[in-house]
Symmetry: D2
Subunit: 293 residues, 4 copies
């Protein structure tokens, strides 16, 4: 696949802040001024706009389609709210204001350098695979672009689920579990890890299928090529089942639905710090130690 | 602790059926006739009564206090609906109509033998520890007798929980997880096992503390003496948190609540098949193999 | 990579039997006659030859280089003894005489069909990635082609190991563990699975890095692209450390050695049954259930 | 069980140092002088004696029987070398010179306070259950007192083991695994934890049975009352099997042996720091976080 044409340096830059963080808001106001000073148009998403005293732009999910690059000030959750609808031609940069994130890799103290680099078009981007999730069974199928994970799970008081999974048209397994996670490599360090799934390097084009609290003790996490088609169905008796996309967007699921994960998902371009390293983040976040210890 | 005084042979026998199972209903009708023929009074719980064309008795949770013994025809879920309010002086016998259960250990083909033995007062009972769960924070504290487990868990779309646990008045850990299970040994083979907790023999007076999908990878299941007091609190920011007792009864939880597990729980008397064996059920349910394989 | 030129139908066929299995020997004698009758030369490895009253050929590891195809009658262990030195141009077919194997997928009752198909050159082959393992530190480096796994482990009484791993020249982690498994997708269902690693579909070109009984609880299995270079070193203090290749071949390891896994491993061609399915074997071997249960 | 009669303040004190640690040796020399000055006899084990320029006493395993209390300067391994033969009437105090240990709980900076408290007989002791391990099958059975764990494991290159376990005379399971750990609660945080077993509070009288890299995925750790008898046998075909006691002492095992864990094990008395807490060590060693983080 040829690299998508980037529009860097950007003429229009999107800006999103975590609105529950006073620090993110204060920094967002400064960034807004700085970028405008440089003569570049800033579009602030509708949710962040009142906090930055800015004109409300489109929703976070729609922002990426209207700008040339997006800057996110917040945590991984804020980052994911933007990536859901973001095309592969719009790079996204995440500045983390608390602890380092797997997605928001730029530390707060680098924000001015990052802004300057972005405006100069002088950034290093990394392609991250996304999953194309199609939900069939209602009048018209719905499609979602997912960076981290597609999660099928039951409500708290509901009975254990029975989930049938097909891979490439062939029956894989009938899971009896609290739920099922279909994760990208990028999402492998998120919910998948808590549920016992493996860490998968983002350069491997793979899909991870991990049950949540499997009743069948032999049901282990499975990693398949990302271009495999997967279809998931819940069982007629199951009630209060929900599909959650990137931990952000949820919809109820019944036995008439089929949840498909298809290989045609457009990747996402992530702006990374110079010398960024997936392994370094693992050390830091998971306390994997270092040479010296 | 001295054994509680049993009232066997029973003058009043409780009868409960799984109302979604035609087989359980049919068998229940036969059992009802047989026991009456023998001159013993039968009390059918309010939920089962219409299906057995019987006078509606008290609720399942209240049944054990009004009879001398209870016979349950159904699965482990039906069994648990009775044990919640059942005093230690009322033995409960469970007949499983599908696959063998950890609680409903009597196979359907033994039902007539079991009925005769029960009416003759000729049964082997085993004491099972229960947890006394007290929920403080509302106007008056609520108490529950729990056979399997106390589960604190978040709703599907909610953020990861922060759960603080104290044991014997001392801080144990701040769990960041989907939830937390406090299980008895009897409950160790239920939800606890799916969440990665150990199997604990029911003769050991212990409490198992197992996180559900822990974010902190080093948070392993912990087993403490059953007479240790445990206090659990969720964090102010957490929303849509539920407390579930034996998978049967749920109530919403907030940061103003304290969930305590106290050692004063009355045990439950379970009527077991002759030659019943905890290990034999493990083999069968978990496919642990046998000498011959 | 273009497919290697096969020499099917074979002019010379290798034959290997599990010499501890009378059934494998009896069947081997019959196969030997049948193939000779058809006018095709049979080369029997040196270890199997006395049992088949045949002329002793080369060692199992060398056999693949001298014939056009190899037929293995035995289990996965026998199969692995052949694949270690087998070039990508020599397909290997495994007939399992006991329970179905992950590698020896042909059931015994299909053996005559398989022999006929092989001699007709009418078989379906699947490419399986192998790891090229290079051990540096002695006078001259040693290289091994590995189908399942490279295992670094300590002797029983030895202290816990300290193992440093670099991936693509970058430090990954210092493992404190009983050992470390570097597995191919084909090997993911072998030792890796017992150690808690994920199942990886053989069509994904990946390498799995799984610690054995890690002391550091946060050290989870990691999956990286197969073309990543990995270097492993044990710590100066460690004693009684062994490197084991495919569970077949072992050599002592010290802190002066570097164990590298390199991407240049030649794949292996495996002859598969018609309609063979990786998922069907998972069901069968791991009791993953099926649609009907 | 009534508390054993202690002989505190001690007339004879045992002293053991980790001989590979210059810091332990230097501190040991100072402690030796100090205790002698106070008019109390010091017995130094044969292995430590040359390093302390002292008269060589008995072996570490025998030391506890000849003195009134033992002081260990080193790590958990040094501590375990003393406890193997130590009677319940001789308390042991462990000073850790590196990172805090689960057994050597006294920090180095408290050593003088500890020595003074010991000599004044003013210490808090905690009873820790030990396992009585009996190995039958040779001419005369051997018995061992074990503080942490009894481990049955295979040599590196050997095939997977088949291990049959009986509990209270009843068949529990046939394990197919690299090995099996039988751990006390004190040992639950050692090898058992690395193998996936639960943490068990030392006040619970329990035995933990945890397979090492189980081939059968459904074989989960099991916790039984400590007064249950356990018998373990390896399979005839298994070669290169070793029994290891507290990671210190090993002996070869064959299918003619029976390894029994019996409930009659004498406990060990451990001298603990004031305000010592099992949970605090968990936080520190396993990074379980604290209220403030």
């Amino acid at each position: 696949m040829s690299a998508p044409p980037l529009r860097l340096p950007p003429k229009k830059m999107g800006l999103v802040v975590k609105t529950s963080s006073p620090q993110a808001i204060a920094l967002g106001q400064q960034v807004l001024s700085r970028v405008k000073e440089k003569g570049v148009e800033v579009v602030v998403d509708a949710q962040s706009a009142p906090f930055l005293h800015a004109e409300p732009g489109p929703s976070r999910a729609a922002l990426g389609r209207e700008v040339d690059a997006v800057l996110v000030l917040g945590g991984d959750g804020t980052f994911l709210s933007v990536t859901r609808g973001c095309p592969a031609t719009t790079p996204v940069a995440g500045v983390n204001l608390g602890t380092l994130g797997f997605l928001t890799e730029h530390p707060a103290e680098r924000v001015w350098q990052l802004v300057d680099d972005l405006l100069a078009g002088n950034v290093q981007c990394e392609k991250r695979d996304r999953l194309l999730c199609r939900v069939e069974g209602d009048d018209s199928p719905q499609e979602f672009l997912v960076l981290n994970d597609v999660v099928i799970a039951k409500a708290t008081l509901a009975r254990i689920l029975t989930i049938d999974v097909e891979v490439e048209g062939e029956f894989l397994s009938r899971y009896r579990a609290d739920g099922l996670i279909l994760a990208s490599p990028t999402g492998s360090t998120a919910y998948n890890l808590s549920a016992g799934g493996p860490i998968v390097h983002p350069e491997l084009s793979a899909l991870i299928i991990t049950p949540i609290c499997s009743h069948t003790l032999s049901n282990r996490p499975l990693v398949v090529p990302l271009n495999f088609q997967v279809a998931v169905r819940v069982h007629p008796g199951d009630e209060d089942v929900y599909l959650t996309l990137d931990g952000q967007y949820g919809l109820p699921l019944t036995d008439r639905h089929v949840v498909r994960v298809l290989p045609e998902g457009d990747p996402l371009l992530v702006v990374r710090p110079p010398n960024a390293s997936f392994f370094a983040i693992l050390h830091d976040k998971l306390k994997w130690g270092d040479w010296g210890s």
